[in-house]
């Protein structure tokens, strides 16, 4: 299958990364990215099932050495919520996957994870929106999130990646915010002082250290739904807060 199937090509462009809303989102800077393609939706359970059925958890070629060591040591052979009906429906975004599992899946489909800057550009679009759909404040019609971080039910569940058609970015990506946050390639940083060039930026320390997630989830409130909002977790995190989508950086050959 053409790898660009179910992706959107993002042409090379420049956008204003960050915001004035929180210190870790500063300094604001114009960032230029080369062209790339990004999945329209987060990776769903239906898509991830192929990775499991094709032996992805048993084949070291998809894993970094530290990722392979992590799943071997912890006897991991499926996502953490793979058997939980609240999270495992076909069109739900896969969750309970560590950063290493997300990266292994991406390699399996010959893609990778987005950098934080790529993700934020896709979310803000060409107009620099606050949220993927624009600047209107979120309601539950827009996304699966928790007002005041207080979900209506303690026994939370995901929603389909197609459940909120208004949750669509200017570029056409769905379900970017709410439902599940999304792993990025970057390690965590407490601001953007490290970025001196503003060209294809990525912050990298060690793969086993914390990684950035973007977009917020059903446990967090509208603050995390802003495109510029940032969060981070250990690479080992397998909680039902985080999923992912993939990118292709070398699109000229397709």
């Amino acid at each position: 299958m053409n790898k660009l199937h179910q992706t959107i090509v993002i042409e090379s462009g420049t956008f204003l990364r960050g915001s004035d809303d929180s210190p870790e989102e500063q300094p604001k800077k114009n960032v230029t990215l080369d062209s790339f393609a990004i999945d329209i939706t987060p990776v769903t359970n239906r898509q991830f099932r192929t990775f499991i059925e094709k032996g992805g958890y048993q084949n070291s070629k998809y894993w970094t050495s530290k990722g392979w060591e992590y799943i071997q040591k912890n006897k991991i052979s499926m996502p953490n919520y793979w058997l939980d009906r609240n999270w495992n429906q076909d069109d739900f975004p896969v969750t309970g996957v560590s950063w290493w599992e997300a990266l292994a899946y991406a390699k399996f489909v010959e893609k990778t994870l987005p950098t934080e800057a790529q993700w934020e550009y896709v979310c803000k679009g060409k107009h620099g929106y606050v949220y993927p759909w624009g600047n209107e404040l979120p309601t539950l019609e827009y996304a699966n999130f928790a007002i005041d971080c207080d979900p209506e039910e303690l026994d939370r569940k995901a929603t389909s990646v197609y459940a909120h058609p208004k949750n669509k970015s200017n570029f056409g990506c769905l379900d970017l915010v709410g439902n599940l946050a999304e792993w990025c390639l970057d390690n965590a940083s407490i601001n953007y002082d490290w970025d001196l060039t503003g060209h294809n930026p990525i912050f990298w320390t060690k793969e086993e250290e914390d990684h950035i997630v973007k977009g917020g989830c059903g446990l967090h409130n509208e603050e995390f739904l802003r495109c510029a909002s940032r969060d981070y977790y250990p690479a080992s995190l397998r909680d039902n807060l985080v999923g992912f989508r993939c990118v292709i950086n070398e699109i000229t050959k397709f």
Binding site: P23, E24, P234
Partner: protein
């Protein structure tokens, strides 16, 4: 005790403030409940609830933080962990850990979490029986819970039944279950401040003291 001001905005509690992994127990009989102190101590001990109340009491207004990105400042009453450790007698706490075990329930088992002992003592970790002048609600850890305010909530056990001093830095419930860090140190992040009903970024790790 000081004149306590009730914590604001408790009517909008984050779900994890109500969350109780291993319970809560349906009821607790204070006549039989004991806090066991075991392991590498000079005296194995069992404190009754009355024993705890007879120890030197402290009341501290401090902020607890959940790994789910929210925080709440409240006034906690109880005893310092250091008081219990002093009575039980521990040599070389800098080399040791404290394994907490909950009362739990027959259906869900117990909750366990292990923390470095010396840093817990240095951070004035508390064994808490009351909050804002009221006995802890059962969902928040009655009859006694531990709080090391430099660590996320998942490292602090509600409904304590045992403290074991050990050389083993064991993975706890959420580290095993979902890959959270074993050290559980509060990270520099943006947190939803329940009592202020607003977001606040904290730039350093550990206990949040600046607001």
């Amino acid at each position: 005790m000081s004149d306590l001001i009730p914590t604001k905005n408790l009517h909008r509690k984050p779900s994890s403030l109500r969350y109780y992994q291993d319970g809560p127990p349906t009821s607790i009989d204070l006549t039989t409940w004991r806090l066991q102190i075991t392991g590498l101590v000079q005296k194995t001990m069992a404190f009754s609830y009355t024993d705890i109340l007879k120890l030197p009491q402290v009341e501290e207004n401090r902020r607890m933080v959940c790994v789910c990105n929210w925080s709440i400042r409240r006034t906690w009453q109880g005893v310092l962990l250091s008081e219990i450790i002093k009575i039980a007698g521990v040599l070389e706490p800098e080399k040791l850990f404290l394994k907490q075990t909950s009362i739990g329930t027959p259906e869900k088992g117990v909750y366990e979490a292990t923390i470095p002992l010396e840093s817990a003592i240095n951070r004035r970790t508390m064994l808490i029986h009351s909050v804002d002048g009221e006995v802890l609600p059962i969902e928040q850890g009655y009859p006694l819970r531990l709080l090391d305010f430099g660590l996320y909530g998942y490292k602090n056990v509600k409904g304590l039944s045992k403290l074991e001093v050990t050389t083993e830095y064991e993975l706890g419930e959420w580290e095993r279950k979902a890959g959270y860090n074993i050290n559980g140190i509060i990270k520099p992040k943006k947190y939803w401040i329940v009592d202020l009903a607003k977001w606040h970024f904290t730039p350093q790790e550990g206990e949040i003291t600046e607001f």
